[in-house]
Symmetry: C2
Subunit: 382 residues, 2 copies
């Protein structure tokens, strides 16, 4: 269950209403599941929310009515909620609801709504007789608010990161010569659940020896063997929030090359973290890690971004990456700000040899950075 | 890993090309992950496929290049595959690829592509200089082919259903007076993985006592107690294919009401299964279960459909439901056909009291039906 209090939800609604008002939107249809959870504490799989200046219209089907009624009797109740139970299917119910509200400009989430669904809804308003609202595409209206975490979220993420660090310390005991990657991954997943997480935040990665060169390898039947480097990347969902951690360990003694790559990646990781503070460009954080690796001839070997935001989604803004043609240089409202939580996870991968990745979760504070995960970054020889 | 042979993939491509040709589409952009897997055996999380009359253009990023190259050296290689590695981001790479192919009508999957993405791609073609292709929305072009399973898929689903039945027999041992729902759910997930499934197919449901009235309850801290009915609904993903099974058991002796509801749901389940044969309307299968429950005063208590298709997705066509305003009566090409695989899972739920659901997975054969799952349907008192 999510932890946001009714007062926190109300503040979130206020920010969404302000953003909608700036675009002259009378009502915003929220279909993205993580945005619905953020605005209502609802954790079910199916619902639509319509945010108007004074109500939160909540559309769901019979399966979730009891869950919503129960939620509304707690300190986590969603303020100003009006429940509409789906009659038949979701989108016809939505169209009837919106028609009854007399909306003239209806915002929708263009990055979530499919072309089919949009076409159906537009046609259905035509059929409702009354004047159809203009359908106004919005981009990241709720997501831009989610990118800086409020106190309730920071508390949840801090607890989650601490639990995941505890899991990591136990995970090191699972690294045993001769075990398969798949076995180790199952043991990690079991530890994640027993620690109190709802579930792993993504498919756990255990990539050993040359397979560690594949940044997203699925754990397989390969057995851990002497001198392997093993990338262990796992995460958990706690009270609906995701945390994510990676360590690379050695099975038995690490050779020179392994030590050298691990040390380079670790220094890149530390440099990126030291760069983090409010007002800093996210690109500068990426550059702090990348420039260090590039200077050591490992720039090509670092083929992904330095990090990604954490929250209800395991990958959200801010993206700690190189500038892209769409967002060259600093990009203003996306610079780092207090309350942002993201990963720092540089890596270096060499086909045929293997790879190293080291990942922690950080919070931007008013004056700098707070590292939420807390596990040794030394190269462990297990 | 999926099991489709190269010859099977080739037959699938042929059917997609025929469907595209009927719509005068020169190239079809496939963005739906399960459709990509169906056409290529690729199980990664990011790729775009462009199907043309003679090639399968496969766009992915550096993370998956090795995986694709490895796949191409097996009997499961995707025929006629041309690999394009993403340079920068996916959609710009796609636009450049399509521009180089000289396409005039470009199909896309309207139920998967978002409004934002569609707008970006349409604008980008404008910027490419050459004549822009017409973007043609398609609906369920690949999904309609997927709805009847080929021999490779039936073999996989048969094995998966047999494994899941074995899991179910073990699950009954986990039903112990005093255990929490959450504990039982963790034990079920662990059994699913140990049986050889890649992962649970969805969040496992363990709903006991009055909580069994919530068809999608999350397992909670409630402890199993004497006379509880417990709904156990779980599934697994095996070689990328999903199977799904539900049993409702009693903790200790079941009372009269529990027996009565269980018997009614079981008879509804059996009647629905007996109705299944090629050419039958899917609505008739739903009615076979629903009419029986309605005649016993439990029609209102059965608030969901009788079943859903199984395959790469855990919910796919055919939907075994009541007719909707969109599809009254029989709907021709959606009638049952040999090779379809779906669940039969009637239920009855009474707020404050609890509920019963019984679910098996069935295959439509040339002459009737084959029940793939195989676990007792008696009301077990554990």
């Amino acid at each position: 269950m999510p932890r946001a209090s009714s007062a926190t939800l109300k503040r979130r609604h206020q920010r969404v209403r302000e953003a909608a008002a700036r675009r002259q939107i009378d009502a915003l249809v929220v279909t993205t599941r993580s945005n619905i959870l953020y605005l209502t504490n609802f954790t079910g799989s199916a619902a639509i929310v319509v945010v108007t200046p004074d109500r939160i219209h909540f559309v769901t089907d019979f399966r979730y009515v009891t869950a919503i009624e129960d939620l509304q009797n707690t300190p986590h109740a969603c303020p100003e909620l009006d429940l509409t139970v789906v009659d038949g299917a979701y989108d016809p119910t939505l169209v009837r609801l919106v028609a009854s509200l007399g909306v003239s400009r209806l915002g929708f989430e263009a990055a979530n709504m499919t072309v089919s669904r949009h076409a159906w809804i537009a046609a259905a308003f035509g059929g409702e007789g009354a004047a159809s609202p203009a359908l106004v595409p919005t981009e990241q209206l709720v997501e831009r608010i989610r990118v800086t975490k409020d106190a309730d979220e920071i508390e949840t993420l801090r607890t989650a990161a601490s639990l995941l660090s505890e899991v990591a310390r136990g995970v090191f005991e699972e690294i045993v010569h001769g075990r398969t990657e798949r076995d180790v991954a199952l043991a990690i997943d079991s530890r994640i659940r027993r620690a109190g997480f709802e579930r792993p935040a993504f498919d756990t990665i255990v990539a050993s020896g040359p397979r560690a060169a594949l940044p997203h390898a699925m754990p397989g039947e390969r057995r851990l063997s002497e001198h392997d480097l093993v990338v262990l990347d796992f995460g958990g969902v706690y009270d609906s929030y995701c945390v994510d951690l990676t360590r690379t360990v050695s099975v038995g003694r690490a050779d020179e090359r392994a030590r050298e790559v691990h040390a380079a990646v670790l220094e890149a990781h530390d440099r990126a973290i030291r760069t983090v503070e409010p007002g800093m460009s996210r690109f500068a954080v990426d550059a702090a890690a990348r420039d260090w690796l590039t200077a050591r001839g490992m720039g090509e070997a670092f083929g992904h971004g330095t990090g990604h935001g954490l929250g209800i989604d395991v990958h959200e803004d801010p993206r700690i990456t190189r500038p892209t043609p769409d967002s060259p240089g600093s990009d203003g409202d996306r610079d780092l700000a207090a309350g942002m939580v993201f990963t720092i996870e540089p890596g270096a991968y060499f086909p045929g040899w293997g790879g190293v990745r080291i990942e922690d979760d950080v919070l931007v504070t008013d004056h700098g950075v707070d590292v939420l995960t807390n596990v040794t970054t030394h190269l462990l020889e297990l």
